[in-house]
Amino acid sequence: MRFIAALAVMALYSAGAHAIDPAPPLADPLQQQRYLELIHELRCLKCQGETVADTQAMFAADIRRQVREMVQAGKSNTEVQEYMVDRYGEVILLKPRWSLANAWLWLAPGVFLLGGAGIAWRILRQRRALLAGDTSEVGEEPGRS
């Protein structure tokens, strides 16, 4: 029981030493930019719902070093991500990759929006058609059909 409460607390307030990556920035600003982007999209598996950029956990520090070295060695973002997924699985990516299993997740927002537009259109047409027969004042209950 306590364990669950502890988990909940951890989830709510993932504690511990936060932040700070004291390594100097990479010489190439473009590489530094990519490095920051990458570490903000990798999950610290040792922590609860944090990126490796935002925690001092040993695991996060090692991953940051690995990313830094790979970026310096001229590896592309995809190569770095693939390297991580090969070793840790999809769970390390905070941004799910485009795949058959994940496609619904990326398509859903667009589908929702289209569906919403369709529903709105239908309702608007219905209600406009009713306008002619509706003599009620605003603030008054219109006659029920």
Partner: protein
């Protein structure tokens, strides 16, 4: 002894809740006046008993009764009294008791302020609230008893998690809970209407203030939580799209939609079944949030299954309440047809867009939050969904929503093209663009795309929100509280948008190791590290760094980030130091010693950060003002109706 009194009080409260549920539902059904009357003493008694029970729990914490499992597990004699009190609700069991206690307060309020409403309707509302209370009390007593004793007791407790030892955190969960529980009132009103089979505009008018108050608490709770995460967790994050945060955001989005659809039902008798559904869904998500956060199901499927008894109970309770309400809905909703019409460009259609977009936003958050859970349950493997997913996808419904707020403000009820308002719309947009450009080019020197869009939309919302109230002022017409509240809440939304957009696009952050005397520049600010000293707190020992900040060479402020070691829990925690201001927040976090007197730091300059909290405060205040509207407090309904339509709020719709 005291914990046992609390325990008995809870058991008696359960009995009263059961009778409240029975008489509340059965009374109107059988037409028994005396049964209906019996509900009131049950409500009052339940409140007294639960206040007693909660008092007993707090007493146990304050008096360090470490034979109580909860106290031993979440408190310590070295903990300041203030945090010992707060520790009472800083755990699963205590927070459940707090939940039902808050429910009893809301129930008491409904019973007290509803004397103008039909007796049978109020009885049903209280009956439904009684059912919810029974569920929570049963759950608490059967699986999560806060008064459980330890045999033998401990000499001292294991202390409260250090991150929870903070002012923001002592008031943030209570606020959220008051909000969550508040939506149970709208839910109960919806269920009562469905049981009765009657839902008219008056119903919407009764429901509106309760919903708005709940929404206000939820808004405040979220803002406090975000503020707390911002300064306490130490890395400057205020919203991480963490499953727990998402579970709180979803009821807020639905609650916001509900407030707007209630307005339509109130004014035009439209969207009735939709309003009902939103009331059910908003509360369902509050329930889900309470249970999911507390059961840990969002962290991992496994912690949910770790205690199947709790899981099965929760599931059964959800099936009974939500499933029951949705079944009623299938039966009753088809009867709620309205013949009212409205034009393509009208207040109704904009509120329709508002609702659809808010529900889509909820669906996006829901999908992303639950995806790892679904993937795991269905055996598709493990995955993570984080900020890089939510940030762009959430924008999809939210950007059009923000854009439509402004145009919608000019629309009129029922019919009418934007024709006569076109100058105002274009004028305000032009003003917002000019202001935005001035801000972006003049001050920020920005070239990104999202920044300008967000800033212009934010300013547009602020400008257009002011048009109607200023217009009324100019013409010497009194502004009803509801219009004032709406204006304030919308301005708050604009201010939050302005704050978040500016901060997200213009923030500077640097992690760096500094030796004493060294400094680092972030834009026009320079942070100079001057050394560390040791300081002692009540239950921790800390190292405190001194960081002097200058702006263009002129002294700006001095920051004292700390690194605390909590003695009982042996936990190290970074306590960030903030230099707050209306233009920007400066933030310093102390990391570890990296050798030769040098320490690692994280420094941040966050422009307009304050505006995020300020905007949220405006939104809450707007909600509060809106509930003060005279329309909600009138005693004689029908007669005054028309008079109000001529003076008060409906001017908005009638304006030509």
């Amino acid at each position: 002894m005291i914990p046992e009194i609390g325990q008995y009080a809870m058991i008696l409260a359960l009995l009263l809740a059961a009778s409240q549920a029975f008489f509340g539902i059965a009374g109107p059904w059988k037409g028994q006046q005396r049964w209906m009357a019996a509900v009131y003493p049950a409500v009052a008694g339940q409140f007294v008993l639960l206040a007693l029970a909660f008092g007993c729990l707090i007493w146990s914490f304050v008096h360090n009764d470490f034979s109580v499992r909860m106290v031993a597990g979440h408190s310590n004699s070295a903990l300041p009294v203030y945090y010992r009190v707060a520790a009472a609700w800083g755990n699963h069991e205590g927070s459940l008791l707090f939940w039902v206690f808050v429910l009893s307060i809301w129930t008491l309020a409904v019973a007290s302020f509803s004397n103008t409403l039909p007796k049978a309707f109020v009885a049903r509302v209280l009956g439904v609230l009684g059912i919810i209370s029974v569920g929570f009390l049963l759950f608490s007593l059967a699986t999560s008893n806060p008064f459980e004793r330890l045999q033998p007791g401990l000499p001292d407790g294991v202390d409260l998690n250090p991150v929870l030892q903070d002012f923001g955190l002592t008031i943030h969960p209570p606020m959220l809970y008051v909000g969550y529980v508040g939506f149970s009132v709208a839910f109960a009103f919806a269920c009562a209407a469905m049981l009765e089979g009657k839902l008219d505009q008056v119903w919407a008018r009764w429901t509106r203030p309760w919903t708005t108050v709940a929404w206000m608490f939820l808004t405040t709770g979220i803002a406090l939580g975000s503020w707390w995460a911002y300064y306490e967790l130490g890395w400057g994050g205020y919203w991480a799209w963490d499953p727990v945060e998402n579970s709180i955001l979803m009821p807020w989005l639905l609650g916001t939609a509900l407030i707007h659809s209630l307005a339509v039902t109130d004014k035009r008798g439209l969207f009735k079944s939709w309003t009902l559904l939103l009331a059910i869904m908003a509360f369902s998500f509050c329930l889900l949030a309470t249970f999911m956060v507390r059961s840990g199901v969002l962290v991992s499927v496994h912690s949910f299954a770790a205690d199947p008894a709790r899981g099965i109970f929760i599931l059964a309770f959800l099936v009974l309440t939500i499933g029951g309400a949705l079944t009623l809905y299938v039966w009753r909703a088809p009867m709620l047809r309205s013949s009212a019409g409205f034009d393509l460009v009208s207040r109704e259609s904009f509120l329709l867009f508002n609702n659809i977009l808010l529900v889509i936003a909820t669906a996006v958050v829901f999908g992303g939050t639950m995806a790892p859970f679904f993937a795991d349950v269905l055996g598709l493997g493990t995955m993570s969904v984080g900020a890089p997913y939510f940030n762009p996808t959430f924008m999809l419904p939210v950007l059009p929503l923000l854009a439509l707020v402004s145009v919608g403000t000019f629309s009129r009820w029922k019919r009418g093209a934007l024709g006569e308002s076109r100058t105002r719309i274009l004028g305000s947009l032009a003003l917002a663009v000019v202001l935005g450009l001035a801000l972006i080019v003049g001050i920020y020197g920005d070239r990104s795309l999202l920044g300008p869009i967000g800033v212009v939309l934010a300013l547009w919302i602020v400008v257009t929100s002011l048009v109607d109230p200023l217009d009324r002022l100019r013409r010497g017409i009194t502004i009803p509280a509801s219009v004032l509240g709406m204006t304030l809440a919308h301005i708050g939304l604009g201010v939050v948008t302005l704050g978040i957009t500016t901060m997200e696009t213009r923030m500077i952050e640097r992690d760096v190791a500094l030796a004493p005397g060294q400094q680092i520049e972030l834009g026009r600010y320079a942070f100079r590290f001057e050394g560390v000293e040791d300081v002692d707190g009540p239950n921790y020992a800390a190292t405190r760094a001194r960081v002097v900040v200058t702006h263009d060479g002129k002294p700006e402020t001095v920051l004292f980030p700390e690194r605390r070691n909590y003695l009982v829990q042996q936990q190290a925690l970074a306590e960030a130091s903030l230099g707050v201001g209306w233009k920007r927040d400066l933030l310093a976090t102390l990391g570890e010693e990296v050798g030769k007197g040098a320490w690692s730091f994280r420094f941040q300059v966050r422009p307009l950060m304050r505006y995020v909290w300020f905007g949220a405060a405006l939104m809450s205040l707007g909600g509060f003002l809106a509930t003060l509207d005279r329309r909600y407090r009138r005693r004689k309904e029908a007669a005054d109706e028309r008079a109000a339509a001529i003076s008060g709020e409906s001017l908005q719709g009638g304006r030509a």
